[in-house]
C-alpha cells in the first residue's frame, strides 16, 4: 500500500531533480542590450565566444522594423553607419536607410523601456524617427511606428521581446541547441521597475533570466578573469587589484569600483545616470539646426545619421564637414570643430565626471589605490572622455579589452559561473558579489523616505528596521515601498504597498512593526512585515511577505492616486520609525 504513495512523491522529486540538473548542463548565453547595438556571447568551455549574425557581424544594430505581416514585425539586422563605411557596403546601407528612418523602425528602446510619459528621457526621445507622444500624466508614453501610412502602436517591452526572440533564434542556430537561460547586462541607473520590464520581455521571448548584471560589473568580471589568466601564466600569485570601470554607451553612463582579490570580485560601489551618446547627438542636432524639432520624420532621420557620423569622426580628427540634403529643398552644410562639440556637451562631460568622483567616494577609494582604469562603451573613444578619466585617475587607460564587447564577455562569464560550469583548467575560478544600485526603503514619519537597505549594500542581504504606529489604537498600517535616495524624494520609484491589518489596540508608539527586506544574490527583492506587541514573543498578526515590485505600469500615477485617495488619512495609517520624535 505504501508503495504507490512513494512513487507519487518520487515523481515529484524526479521532476524537481531533473530541473536542477538540466539547468546546470544547459548553455547560458550572455546578452548586452545596448541602446543602439546588441551582442551575444557564450562560454564555450575554454573561452568566451562572440556570436555573429548572418552577416557575420558581432555587433547587431538594435532596430526593429514594424510591419503588418506578423503581430508586430520582424527584426532586421542593420548596419550602423560606421560599419557601412568601414566595410564598404554602401549599397546595402542606402537601401535600408529609408526603412530605418521612415518611421517604420523603432530604435533606442533601451532608453524608453519602463519609463512613464513625465520622464525627462521620454521627452528627449520625441525627435526619434518614429512617433513618441506624451500626455504628461504619469502613464506609459504612446509609441508607434508607421505601417502603410498608419501609425501602429507598440510598447518598448514588445519591441525588446521581439528583438530578444530574434537573438535567441540566432544563438540557437549558431550553437545548434535550444537556449533558455540568459544573463543580461543593464545600466546601473535602471530602477527595479525597469528590470521587471526587461524580465518580462525575456519571458515573452522564451528566455529565462538568470541574472541581470550592471554593465560595469560585467566589465569588472572580465577584467578579473584577464588578470587571473595573465598572472597564472607568470607567477601564479594573484595580487589584490582595485579597478575603476567607466562605461558610457549611447544611452547610459555607469561607473563601478571593483576590488579583485583571490578570484573574488567585490563591487565596492556603483553610480550611474541616463546620459550618453544620444545626448551628444541631440545637443549637436539642436546646436547645428535650432529648429530641428520642426522637421518631418524623414528629414529628422537624415539629420540624425549625418550628425552621428560627424560625431564619430570628431573622435579622430579636429574638424569635420557636414553636408546633408534634408529633402524638401533644405540642406545643412557646416563645418564643425571638436572644441565646438565639447563646448555644446559640457554639462554631460561634467556630469560623467561627477559620477566618477562620487563612485570613488562611495567606495572609499583614493586615486593612489587604483590598479587599473578601464574605459568602455560606445563613447569610450571620445577624446574628452578619455582625457578626463586619465586626469582624474592620474594614470593611463587599461588597454587589455575591446571597449565594445567587454560587457557582453562579462555576461557570458557570469552565465558560465552561475550555471556551475565544468571548468577543469580553473580558468573561471571567479566570483562576483554585487551591490544594490539604489536604496530601498519605506515611507515613514509622514512623508519621509527611510531606507532599510542603503545603496551599495553587498548582496545577498537581509535587513530589518522597526517602525511603530502614529495614533493610539491604530489597527492598520500601510507599508509603502520605494526605491531611490532619501534626498531625491520626487524621483524615487514606488515599488508597491501593502496593508497590515488587525494590529491589537495599543497606545501609539507601542506596537513594533518590523519591516524586513531581503534581496538574494540575483537581486530579487521581497519585503515582509510582522507586528509584535512588546512583552509578547509571538507576532500579533500573520506575517506578510511579498515579492516586489507589485505595482504595474504608470507607477508615478499610482503614487499620486494613492496620495489622493488616502491623502488626509494616510498620515494616520503610515508608520514612523520607532523612537523617532514627532
Amino acid at each position: 500500500m505504501a508503495e504507490p504513495e512513494y512513487i507519487v512523491e518520487s515523481e515529484c522529486e524526479t521532476t524537481e531533480e531533473e530541473k536542477s540538473s538540466s539547468a546546470s548542463s544547459e548553455v547560458v548565453i550572455g546578452i548586452d542590450i545596448g541602446t543602439s547595438q546588441c551582442s551575444v556571447a557564450v562560454w564555450n568551455g575554454s573561452e568566451v565566444e562572440l556570436l555573429k549574425n548572418t552577416r557575420n557581424q558581432p555587433l547587431i544594430r538594435f532596430d526593429v522594423l514594424v510591419d503588418n505581416d506578423i503581430p508586430l514585425g520582424e527584426v532586421n539586422y542593420h548596419l550602423s553607419p560606421y560599419d557601412v563605411f568601414s566595410l564598404g557596403e554602401v549599397n546595402y546601407h542606402l537601401s535600408h536607410k529609408h526603412e530605418r528612418l521612415s518611421g517604420a523602425s523603432i530604435l533606442n528602446m533601451k532608453r524608453l523601456i519602463g519609463r512613464v510619459d513625465t520622464d525627462r528621457v521620454v521627452h528627449a526621445s520625441k525627435n526619434f524617427p518614429f512617433l513618441v507622444q506624451t500626455l504628461d500624466m504619469g502613464v506609459r508614453p504612446f509609441i508607434a511606428a508607421l505601417v502603410n501610412n498608419v501609425w501602429k502602436s507598440t510598447t518598448p517591452e514588445e519591441v525588446l521581446a521581439l528583438y530578444l526572440a530574434e537573438l535567441r533564434i540566432m544563438a540557437e542556430s549558431k550553437l545548434k541547441r535550444p537556449i533558455k537561460d540568459v544573463v543580461l547586462c543593464i545600466p546601473v541607473s535602471f530602477s527595479r521597475f525597469q528590470l521587471t520590464q526587461i524580465e518580462r520581455a525575456c519571458t515573452i521571448a522564451g528566455l529565462h533570466v538568470l541574472r541581470l548584471m550592471p554593465e560595469p560589473v560585467a566589465v569588472a568580471l572580465l577584467y578579473a578573469q584577464q588578470q587571473q589568466h595573465m598572472l597564472r601564466d607568470n607567477t601564479g600569485r594573484v595580487s589584490k587589484r582595485i579597478a575603476l570601470v567607466f562605461n558610457m554607451g549611447a544611452g547610459y553612463c555607469d561607473v563601478a569600483v571593483a576590488d579583485i582579490d583571490g578570484g573574488v570580485t567585490e563591487i565596492k560601489a556603483l553610480s550611474g545616470s541616463e546620459i550618453g551618446g544620444e545626448d551628444f547627438l541631440q545637443n549637436m542636432m539642436r546646436h547645428l539646426l535650432p529648429s530641428f524639432d520642426k522637421l518631418d520624420i524623414k528629414s529628422m532621420g537624415l539629420l540624425r545619421v549625418a550628425i552621428q557620423e560627424a560625431i564619430h569622426e570628431l573622435s579622430f580628427q579636429e574638424s569635420v564637414q557636414i553636408d546633408v540634403d534634408l529633402g524638401n529643398g533644405s540642406r545643412l552644410c557646416k563645418e564643425v570643430k571638436r572644441e565646438e562639440f565639447e563646448e555644446v556637451n559640457k554639462y554631460i562631460f561634467c556630469e560623467s565626471e561627477i559620477l566618477t568622483v562620487q563612485c570613488m567616494h562611495d567606495a572609499d577609494v583614493d586615486v593612489e589605490d587604483l590598479t587599473d582604469v578601464i574605459v568602455v562603451g560606445g563613447c569610450s573613444c571620445i577624446p574628452k572622455i578619455r582625457n578626463f578619466v586619465e586626469n582624474l585617475c592620474e594614470r593611463e587607460i587599461y588597454k587589455g579589452m575591446n571597449p565594445l564587447t567587454a560587457a557582453v564577455y562579462g555576461t557570458a562569464l557570469e552565465g558560465a559561473l552561475t550555471s556551475g560550469i565544468d571548468d577543469p583548467l580553473g580558468d573561471v575560478d571567479l566570483l562576483t558579489s554585487q551591490v544594490t544600485t539604489l536604496g530601498i526603503g519605506i515611507r515613514a514619519n509622514r512623508s519621509e523616505f527611510v531606507p532599510v537597505i542603503p545603496r551599495n549594500t553587498t548582496m545577498p542581504v537581509h535587513k530589518e528596521m522597526i517602525f511603530t504606529t502614529v495614533k493610539d489604537n491604530q489597527t492598520e498600517a500601510l507599508i509603502v515601498v520605494y526605491e531611490g535616495e532619501p534626498e531625491m524624494e520626487d524621483e524615487n520609484h514606488l515599488l508597491g504597498y501593502f496593508k497590515i491589518t488587525g494590529i491589537p489596540p495599543a497606545s501609539k508608539g507601542v506596537p513594533e512593526i518590523i519591516v524586513g527586506m531581503d534581496t538574494n544574490a540575483s537581486n530579487e527583492l521581497s519585503v515582509s512585515a510582522r507586528v509584535i506587541i512588546p512583552g509578547s514573543r509571538q507576532p500579533a498578526v500573520p506575517v506578510m511577505e511579498l515579492k516586489m515590485p507589485t505595482v504595474d505600469d504608470g507607477h508615478s500615477c499610482c503614487a499620486e492616486v494613492l496620495t489622493r485617495a488616502y491623502g488626509p488619512t494616510l498620515d494616520s495609517m503610515i508608520v514612523r520609525m520607532k523612537n523617532h520624535s514627532i
Binding site: 536542477s20 542581504v461 537581509h462 535587513k463 522597526i466 520607532k578
Partner: protein
C-alpha cells in the same frame, strides 16, 4: 537507481515542508539598524536580556528563524554535517563541511568574531578581515551552489548574508563597539537624546565652527579634529569595556556616533 530515489524522496519532501525556502534571517542579523531595537529603553542603557536572548543558540524567539534554528539545534550539539553526517573537524567555525563541501545551516551560537577566527575583543586587526571574508565568500556564496538543492541554496543565502554583515560590522569601529556590547547583553541606542551637558556644549560649538568655516582648509581642520576625537573615544571605549563598565562604554559609543556623523557631514560639505 530508481530505488534510491524512491527512498530519499519522502524525506526531502518532508524537509521541504518544514523548512520554508524563503531566505530569511533572524532579526539581529540586520545590524545596521541597531538603534531602533532599543527605543523603549531610554531610561537605562542596561537592557533586560530580551534581545540578548537571541544570541543563545536555542532560544525560540520568533518562528521565522525557527527553521534555521531548529536545524542548527540538531547540529549544534554534535556539530555534524547535515549532508554527509561527517563530524566537524578542526577549529574553523562550522559554516561549511570540508568533507562534502556543503554549506551548513546558520548556527547562531557562532558569533561574528568566531566567524573570523578572532578573540572576542574590540581591538582587532581590521586588515586581516578582508582575506578571511573573501575566503568565506568563495565557499558560501549562493552563486556557487546554483545546481545544488533548494535547501542548500537557502543555507548559502543565509550564511553568505551573515558573513557579509559580520564583515561590515567588524570592519567599522563604531558598529564593532555596538556589536561587542550586544554580545554582553547591552543594547545601545545610537539615536538616544544626548543628555551629557558637556557633550551637548561641544556639539553646539562644533556645529557653529562648521557653519562659520570660511574655506575648505578650515573644514579639513575640523574634520581631522573629529577623527582625533573619534580615536580618543574609541580608546576610552576599550578601557570601559575591559573594566566591564558598560554605562561608560555606552557613553563612549554615543560620543563616537556623534563624532563620526560630524565627520561625515563635513566630508559632504567638502
Amino acid at each position: 537507481m530508481y530505488k534510491t530515489k524512491k527512498l530519499c524522496a519522502p524525506l526531502s519532501t518532508i524537509f521541504r515542508g518544514v523548512l520554508p525556502t524563503r531566505r530569511r534571517l533572524s532579526p539581529y542579523f540586520s545590524n545596521s539598524q541597531i538603534p531602533s531595537l532599543s527605543s523603549h529603553l531610554q531610561s537605562s542603557s542596561r537592557v533586560p536580556p530580551r534581545y540578548a536572548l537571541h544570541f543563545l543558540p536555542n532560544s525560540n524567539f520568533s518562528f521565522q528563524n525557527l527553521c534555521s534554528q531548529s536545524a542548527a539545534k540538531l547540529d549544534s550539539s554534535t556539530k555534524r554535517c547535515w549532508n554527509c553526517v561527517a563530524d566537524k573537524t578542526g577549529t574553523t567555525p562550522f559554516l561549511y563541511c570540508d568533507s562534502c563541501r556543503s554549506i551548513q545551516p546558520v548556527d547562531l551560537s557562532i558569533d561574528y568574531f568566531q566567524i573570523f577566527g578572532l578573540e572576542k575583543k574590540y581591538e582587532i586587526e581590521v586588515d586581516s578581515l578582508e582575506g578571511k571574508y573573501k575566503d568565506w565568500q568563495k565557499k558560501l556564496h549562493p552563486d556557487l551552489v546554483h545546481s545544488k538543492s533548494e535547501k542548500e541554496r537557502g543555507y548559502a543565502a543565509e550564511q553568505s548574508a551573515r558573513v557579509i554583515d559580520a564583515y561590515r560590522t567588524l570592519s567599522k569601529p563604531l558598529s564593532r563597539a555596538i556589536y561587542i556590547l550586544r554580545l554582553e547583553g547591552v543594547d545601545v541606542d545610537e539615536e538616544q537624546t544626548v543628555s551629557d551637558p558637556e557633550l551637548l556644549t561641544e556639539i553646539m560649538e562644533i556645529r557653529e565652527a562648521v557653519e562659520e568655516a570660511p574655506d575648505s582648509q578650515a573644514l579639513n581642520q575640523i574634520q581631522s579634529k573629529m577623527e582625533e576625537k573619534l580615536e580618543e573615544s574609541s580608546n576610552s571605549f576599550v578601557n570601559a569595556y575591559q573594566s566591564r563598565n558598560f554605562d561608560e562604554a555606552v557613553a563612549c559609543i554615543q560620543r563616537m556616533t556623534y563624532y563620526q556623523r560630524a565627520s561625515e557631514e563635513i566630508l559632504k560639505k567638502l
